[in-house]
């Protein structure tokens, strides 16, 4: 489908984003900029209890307040929803129970935000407090009282046990077997734009609802609104406004979106809500705090013989994407270094905190941290250079993994070479003066989830394309611009195929009335999936236009090229038409020139229960070297520079690829050094610091220098060979920093964030001759379900589970 590199005129260039000017001059209309005549303002009353039954709600005083137009409680919206079909466990407003401090309980619409805020104080709620579950270990230890009445027993939401080959046999063959325990703290997305939504209702006979929302997933919001409001999807229009950052935090349907819709329907007036920063912390859906245990057997040369990985995720109060997140903590261990036998056990706990979900890297940064630190330790024990060890055992391209993931292009080797050479690794590793260190880590990430959130046989992405007789082109696609540059990718790809300027192309995205479905801006799927759909639509348009231009020019269509806004003879470029003239010929002959394109990922070879998480059309790869300075007197870690190489398949926009890689490094650095969703377990499980001031995230001043290498190893499944770059480069940063800290001062910090306190404590332990380490010390006993046994490809399997093994978790088994 794609031309050779030297023939590309747009793809691969560093162009400004098509929406850049509007953003820079402040013209972009974000959700909070939407203002409609007669608009009301909504506020949410939130729970002051982490876990309580709602005994009574009296809204009469609020209803009586002058200026208040409507008050809602859970009873007004009794139908549950949730992003995954298996966890429809949320209500727009708590029905009978609250599950975290900040859980929405009631809503008010009023003529001003001040009045709505004042009305919240007049809503009287009587609660009966229940014992809160403060973290995952507490959930394992206390199955009662249950937070939800579904799941895999007690307060465990999900239990997974998958076995690919006999790991015991693999450990027996090993020369060295090592076990490690690691912890990855939770963190949140911190988009600059707080979530906001505006609803407008045209009363019957139209009966039509329009919702503008800062969402990454308008299609899923559309479905949730239809379900909860009991409206036909045909009567609902969801418009995703440009997101001021998402990072996964705007991928769920949210309470406030449903609430403004309902309030608009009740009052007949438009209703807006803009969350406060504190409320954004309560929406959360961020990184799951994850405790991990990993055991790996290796031969003397570092070849892995078997790996057993356990994870325990602190899920917060609701399901969200949690089942998928849990699978993801075990899915991608196998795609970097060859693992012939693999066992994964994962558990997600319900706790009385804001729900966790997908944050950049979704469920994979935690196990990647564990794995890459673990391998660093193994390399040291074997006396091998950690870069050499990794290079020796890379997963080959075009292969299957033990858990039946199909690897296509695989550029990790070149990535490792780039950062090793660029950083002067060989001259520095274990050779720097005390306090200075260098560390290496690698990673991989999916380029789009192979399966949709809900099972369906339809495409994951659709594009409609319209050619104007004036030479303009309009591209319609359900994808959502969240700052990552997806609108620009559509423009560049279509411009490449049709030979026009990307800035001649109008992009219409994220509007369920106007655009065909794209599943949303999550799982790094947009460039690959919308890109392939756009190529298909554009090629179909090119074929139509070419056939009429060929007739006019009396040439075979195959001799025509599309470039520089012209359609011309490749053998005699002077002979040709303008693109607009060519479109006019086609339109005169056939009527309006419009085409469609769509994309469905290839089926995955894995056919066991749980095989839906992990498959992807293509995997991106990254290698990272971090330099650190550690002050032994304080334990303060500074990261002056990070070298990162990323296998992006092929850059579509070289500038945005660079931006996404640097942005990923930035976010990874924050998680490595300081970010922490901290709660006060002994103080009603309140979020300790729900503010931009006290939730510590790096600013520009804390950001390190980044040396980026873009490795291009085109993948046959990617548009022009492109793979993702928006999430993967985050993954290797925390383990690279941890490994560098060890290189600098000889202490292992087996958890992130790597704060000065932890380094300081570990240094003191080391000085006293104790274990030079800071990290978790135990993994709780969990009663795992019967494992699903799936023979790996090289043991003659067919991707299905062995007869009679596994299946569902034993939902009745509750560890006591």
């Amino acid at each position: 489908m794609a031309g050779a590199r030297d023939s590309l005129r747009v793809v691969g260039k560093a162009l400004r984003k098509v929406d850049a000017t509007a953003k820079v001059v402040g013209a972009t209309k974000f959700a909070d900029d939407v203002a409609l005549p007669r608009m009301l303002y909504a506020k949410l009353l939130r729970s002051p209890h982490p876990h309580a039954r709602i005994l009574r709600i009296d809204t009469s005083r609020a209803v009586a307040l002058a200026g208040v137009k409507a008050v809602l409680t859970g009873k007004d919206l009794p139908i549950p929803f949730g992003i995954l079909p298996v966890s429809q466990d949320e209500h727009a407003l708590a029905l009978d129970k609250v599950r975290f401090v900040g859980d929405p309980v009631a809503a008010v619409a009023a003529g001003s935000e001040e009045t709505a805020t004042a009305a919240l104080e007049l809503i009287d709620v009587t609660y009966e407090a229940l014992r809160p579950v403060t973290d995952a270990a507490d959930a394992v230890a206390h199955p009662e009282p249950r937070i939800h009445d579904y799941g895999d027993g007690g307060n465990l939401h999900k239990l997974i046990d998958l076995e690919f080959g006999d790991v015991a046999e693999g450990f027996a063959e090993a020369d060295l077997v090592r076990e490690d325990l690691l912890f990855f703290e939770g963190s949140t997305h911190l988009p600059m734009e707080q979530h906001a939504a505006v609803a407008d209702w045209s009363p019957p006979p139209d009966g039509k609802l329009t919702l503008w929302s800062s969402t990454q997933t308008p299609h899923y919001v559309h479905r949730a609104l239809a379900k909860v409001l009991e409206l036909s999807p045909a009567k609902i229009r969801v418009i995703a406004t440009p997101n001021g950052g998402g990072f996964g935090g705007k991928s769920d349907p949210f309470s406030h979106e449903i609430v403004v819709a309902k309030l608009a329907m009740l009052t007949g007036r438009p209703v807006k809500i803009t969350l406060t920063r504190e409320e954004v912390f309560y929406c959360h859906r961020g990184r799951h705090p994850t405790l991990m245990w990993v055991k790996t057997g290796v031969k003397k040369d570092g070849a892995i013989t078997a790996m057993h990985f356990k994870s325990l995720l602190d899920g917060g109060g609701y399901g969200s994407y949690g089942v998928a997140s849990t699978y993801y903590t075990g899915a991608l261990q196998t795609v970097t270094y060859h693992v012939p036998r693999y066992k994964f056990q994962g558990a997600r706990a319900f706790t009385n905190k804001p729900p966790c979900g997908p944050k950049r890297g979704h469920g994979t940064p935690q196990p990647r941290f564990a794995l890459e630190v673990h391998i660093d330790k193994i390399a040291e024990q074997l006396g091998m250079d950690p870069a050499e060890l990794r290079l020796k055992h890379l997963v080959p391209p075009n292969s299957l993994t033990a858990n039946w993931l199909r690897i296509g292009s695989m550029g990790l080797g070149p990535c490792i070479h780039k950062v090793v050479e660029g950083s002067g690794w060989k001259e520095k590793f274990r050779k720097l003066p005390p306090g200075k260190g260098i560390g290496l880590a690698c990673s991989s990430y999916i380029t789009g989830a192979g399966l949709a959130i809900y099972w369906n046989p339809m495409p994951h992405s659709g594009v409609q394309l319209k050619c104007d007789r004036g030479g303009g082109v309009t591209v319609f696609c359900g994808s959502t611009e969240i700052g990552q540059g997806s609108d620009s990718i559509l423009a560049m790809i279509v411009a490449e195929v049709l030979g026009v300027d990307p800035f001649d192309i109008a992009i219409v995205t994220g509007d369920t009335d106007l655009t065909p479905v794209d599943l949303g801006s999550y799982s790094s799927r947009v460039t690959l999936m919308t890109g392939n759909a756009a190529i298909q639509a554009a090629e179909r348009a090119r074929d139509i236009i070419a056939s009429h231009a060929a007739r006019k020019l009396a040439l075979p269509a195959e001799r025509l090229a599309f470039a520089e806004r012209r359609v011309f003879d490749v053998e005699n470029p002077a002979r040709g038409l303008t693109f607009a003239e060519a479109v006019q010929l086609a339109e005169a002959a056939e009527g309006t020139v419009g085409t469609v394109g769509s994309y469905t990922p290839p089926p995955s070879p894995g056919r066991y229960r749980g095989a839906g998480v992990g498959p992807s059309p293509a995997y991106s790869y990254s290698a990272c070297v971090a330099e650190v300075d550690v002050d032994p007197a304080t334990g303060i870690v500074r990261v002056p520079r990070i070298f990162i190489a990323h296998d992006v398949g092929r850059s579509i926009n070289a500038a945005t690829v660079m931006g996404q890689i640097e942005g990923s490094v930035y976010m990874g650095l924050g998680e490595a050094l300081m970010e922490e969703m901290a709660y006060r377990g002994n103080r009603n499980v309140v979020h300790k610091i729900p503010s931009l001031l006290e939730y510590k995230s790096p600013t520009t001043l804390e950001m390190c220098d980044v040396v980026t290498y873009v490795v291009e190893d085109p993948d046959p499944n990617g548009p022009f060979g492109a793979k993702e770059c928006g999430q993967g480069p985050l993954l290797p940063v925390p383990p690279a920093v941890a490994n560098a800290v060890y290189d600098a001062v000889g202490v292992r910090i087996d958890e992130v964030p790597i704060t000065p306190e932890k380094v300081f404590k570990a240094l003191r332990r080391k000085a006293k001759g104790e274990a030079a380490r800071y990290g978790p010390t135990a993994f709780p006993d969990i009663v795992w379900p019967e494992p699903t046994r799936v023979p790996p490809p090289w043991e003659g399997g067919d991707g299905k589970a062995a007869e009679g093994s596994g299946g569902r978790a034993k939902t009745v088994k509750v560890p006591v």
């Binding site: 504190e278 300790k688 503010s691 510590k696 704060t755 306190e757």
Partner: protein, 333 residues
């Protein structure tokens, strides 16, 4: 979004007018200068004045002048101006440096010297919205009865978080206070009390009208600040160190007098007299510095109400006092 409550905003032109307005308003009144402390607190309902009296229109609060070889600075001078003015910087580098370390450039453009000196004490049980505080049943500093940092304590343990105040105490600055009953001049340290609620000793209608700095010779001072991010965080530890040299500078003279004042470890900037005393007569030898650092470490009593782990913060007192004194010694050589 978080909205300011409604309030009356008054703009007096003279000190006398401002004081009269505050006397009229009583407990419902509050002075404001740059507003970078008060307004966010009002949004979170930590402070709920009905009458806000701006001091920014009072000319005499906004100037500078030299008097008796020292400087007199008006409290409404912004932190940006204080940190940028070259002649001031040259005379009082430690003060200018401390001002420069407050928050971000944007906030320093609004925030004032007086505002930083009178900064509300901070605590992460208190610096929260009304709804958040409701979830812990409030605390004694606002709307509640208990101090969650030290539940058995009769007093509030909110933390003095000013960067400039410890330096003012260390260098021996004085404050002129003007109130309904006249005016007085007090040593900087006398403005503060070790109580998170009543952390200022001034009468509510008294206005900090002048900051009087001693003549900038014969002594040296430094300020070091510990915080997570050097881009905008409040201090979790501030160390102001001041020494007065006994004999001629640059000849290995000995310390005639020294003061160490800590910020971020108590409800007031905390002077550690024993640390200063150990330095007197010394030439800031390693031993003398170690002894002073140890003396400063002992009384520092950080609690679990700011960023970072409290035991680490206490440990850092020693490290930072040592670094501050080493810097002074270095400059003397």
């Amino acid at each position: 979004m978080l909205r300011l409550p409604s309030f009356n905003y008054l703009q007096p032109k003279t000190l006398a007018e401002a004081i009269a307005m505050q006397v009229d308003a009583g407990p419902d009144g509050a002075f404001v200068a740059g507003g970078t402390d008060l307004y966010p607190n009002m949004k979170r309902r930590q402070q709920e004045p009905k009458v806000v009296i701006s001091l920014m229109g009072i000319r005499e609060l906004a100037g500078w002048e030299m008097r008796d070889a020292g400087w007199v600075v008006g409290p409404c001078v912004t932190l940006s101006d204080l940190s940028i003015l070259p002649s001031f910087r040259q005379s009082y580098p430690a003060v200018a440096h401390a001002a420069e370390l407050v928050s971000t450039p944007l906030l320093r453009n609004m925030g004032t010297l007086g505002g930083n000196l009178c900064l509300d004490t901070r605590c992460n049980y208190y610096d929260q919205t009304y709804e958040w505080r409701k979830a812990i049943d409030f605390c004694m500093k606002k709307d509640g009865k208990i101090c969650w940092v030290a539940p058995s304590s009769p007093r509030c343990w909110a933390v003095s978080s000013s960067d400039v105040a410890p330096v003012m105490m260390a260098i021996g600055a004085e404050f002129r206070l003007v109130g309904p009953k006249g005016e007085r001049v007090v040593p900087a340290g006398r403005l503060y009390a070790n109580d998170g609620i009543n952390y200022l000793t001034k009468h509510p209608a008294e206005i900090l009208a002048e900051v009087r700095l001693p003549a900038p010779n014969g002594w040296d001072a430094v300020y070091l600040k510990l915080r997570r991010r050097s881009s905008f965080d409040f201090p979790v530890l501030g160390v102001a160190a001041w020494v007065k040299w006994g004999t001629g500078k640059g000849e290995g003279g000995s310390v005639a007098e020294a003061r160490i004042v800590l910020g971020g470890v108590a409800s007031q900037p905390q002077e550690v007299p024993t640390a200063g005393a150990t330095l007197a007569g010394s030439d800031l030898s390693d031993e003398a510095i170690a002894a002073a650092a140890d003396a400063a470490y002992r009384p520092a009593k950080p609690l679990d109400n700011t960023d970072f782990d409290l035991s680490w913060r206490k440990q850092m007192t020693r490290v930072y006092v040592k670094a501050a004194l080493e810097e002074l010694r270095e400059r003397q050589r």
